[in-house]
Symmetry: none
Subunit: 242 residues, 2 copies
DNA sequence: GGCCATCTGATACATCTTGTTACAACTTGG
DNA sequence: CCAAGTTGTAACAAGATGTATCAGATGGCC
């Protein structure tokens, strides 16, 4: 399990489209989950770390456009809109709201896949979808992380010892920078177990990690808290210093 | 103006399309130049710093697709392909070659403009200055807001701690300056939940935000109250002056 | 095994955040 | 000026978060 393949969330109220598309994406090396309404989509987004959302804007109940607006405003996932009407007005509105792309039904799944890949290519940073190299090195703000050797080096070059759990947490953050990860997702990405009801272990690990990598743990610049949402790593992460 | 407006190169062998589109782009605050063949396009690319290329792939002489491939491989300009045929195969080929978007003729100029803006938004900050993380920075009245890092800096440079909710509210305002936003809209833009009947939470958040960013909270200069309408942020907001 | 250091989740408690409520001040229309 | 409705904000409570401390668990070492 080197680099997980990008996870796509397909939101559409038509069961056949939803399922067919998801299967097609999986067959092409992506991970996919589905939702049949805006409400369900919100739940799915909380349950797993999603990298891109394919969203039908014409759905009963909550408007797709409203969900799209909310996603663009508050989260960092790119959005590709899907619609039955080939109406120019709606196309433009979608793009102006901030969706990353727009595909009209009936769509060619191969085209949608190409667009998904194009958007991912532009939006993912770091080594997210790069080939697993044997010496995976990540850099941020002068820090250097050797993923395979599980070592962390401070900007001054000194090695900082991290425990296993702290390292897994850091790696989870580095692979998804600028993305809010809630406690369930972090638990899944680090230990893989299911969190208890009053589970504070992630909070503890974050606290311990902060103590080691933040200049001032009381005013964290790297690992931000998003109240009611989780945590977010914010720093330019790059693959190798050029 | 601090940041020069993006320069678009329109490559098409139809004079009317070329000129009309260029005029439309200029009218909408972009700079534009034109070329009627792949050869001329290459000259234009050498003559001026072009930010994005709109390229008709069906042209006499050198193939548009070949130029597109060349651009994608050797330069960093994003490319939007333009074509007369609504053939799926060509669409997909274009995207797979690495074009950033694809529009079929006849096209709605407003849509093309929206797509140009979308592509520029994605590519400008990222690839250009080698910083893979999109550093979305907004400025108003000496204040500086780092959207991705969720940080606010006062005119004196000192960091002002904002809670998660306060930050989301400020961001919603900054993205829509001089626009009256009612409580439902603000609720949707910040928390995404549906407001109760006697919901005063927005009022409270506004009050808390004002306390932090207004010089005199009792005489607010930045966040105005519109009686019976909502609130409005009024201050010249500009993008990162780089 | 016995000893020790380290790691990690659980617990507890201080602190922070936010929606709710209440009430005073203000606005509007008559 | 009055009544009804709207807004500002203090006070409060529920819930979320930060982290010190502790107890098992684990693993190295003799």
């Amino acid at each position: 399990m080197n680099t997980p393949s990008p996870h796509i969330l397909v939101v559409d109220d038509h069961r056949d489209i939803r399922e067919t598309l998801a299967r097609y994406l999986v067959k092409n090396g992506l991970r996919a989950s589905t939702a049949d309404s805006a409400a369900q989509a919100r739940k799915a987004l909380k349950a797993a770390a999603v990298d891109l959302v394919v969203l039908d804007i014409m759905m009963p109940g909550e408007d797709g456009l409203s969900l799209c607006r909310h996603l663009v405003e508050t989260s960092s996932q790119p959005v590709i809109l899907l619609t039955a009407m080939a109406d120019d007005t709606d196309r433009v509105i979608g793009l102006e709201i901030g969706a990353d792309d727009y595909v009209t039904k009936p769509f060619n799944p191969r085209e949608l896949l190409a667009r998904i890949r194009a958007v991912l290519r532009r939006t993912t940073q770091g080594a997210r979808d790069r080939d697993p190299v044997e010496h995976e090195e990540l850099h941020f703000e002068g820090w250097r992380v050797d993923i395979t050797k599980r070592e962390l080096f401070a900007p001054n070059g000194r090695s900082v010892p991290l425990s296993s759990g702290e390292f897994q947490l850091l790696r989870a953050f580095l692979k998804r920078p600028n993305m809010v990860l809630n406690r369930d997702q972090l638990m899944d990405l680090t230990s893989g177990r299911t969190p208890g009801v009053f589970d504070r272990s992630i909070d503890n690990q974050v606290s311990r990690l902060r103590r080691k990598i933040e200049t001032d743990p009381r005013d964290p610049r790297l690992i931000k808290t998003v109240w009611g949402g989780g945590y977010m790593f914010t720093a330019p992460v790059r693959d190798k210093p050029s």
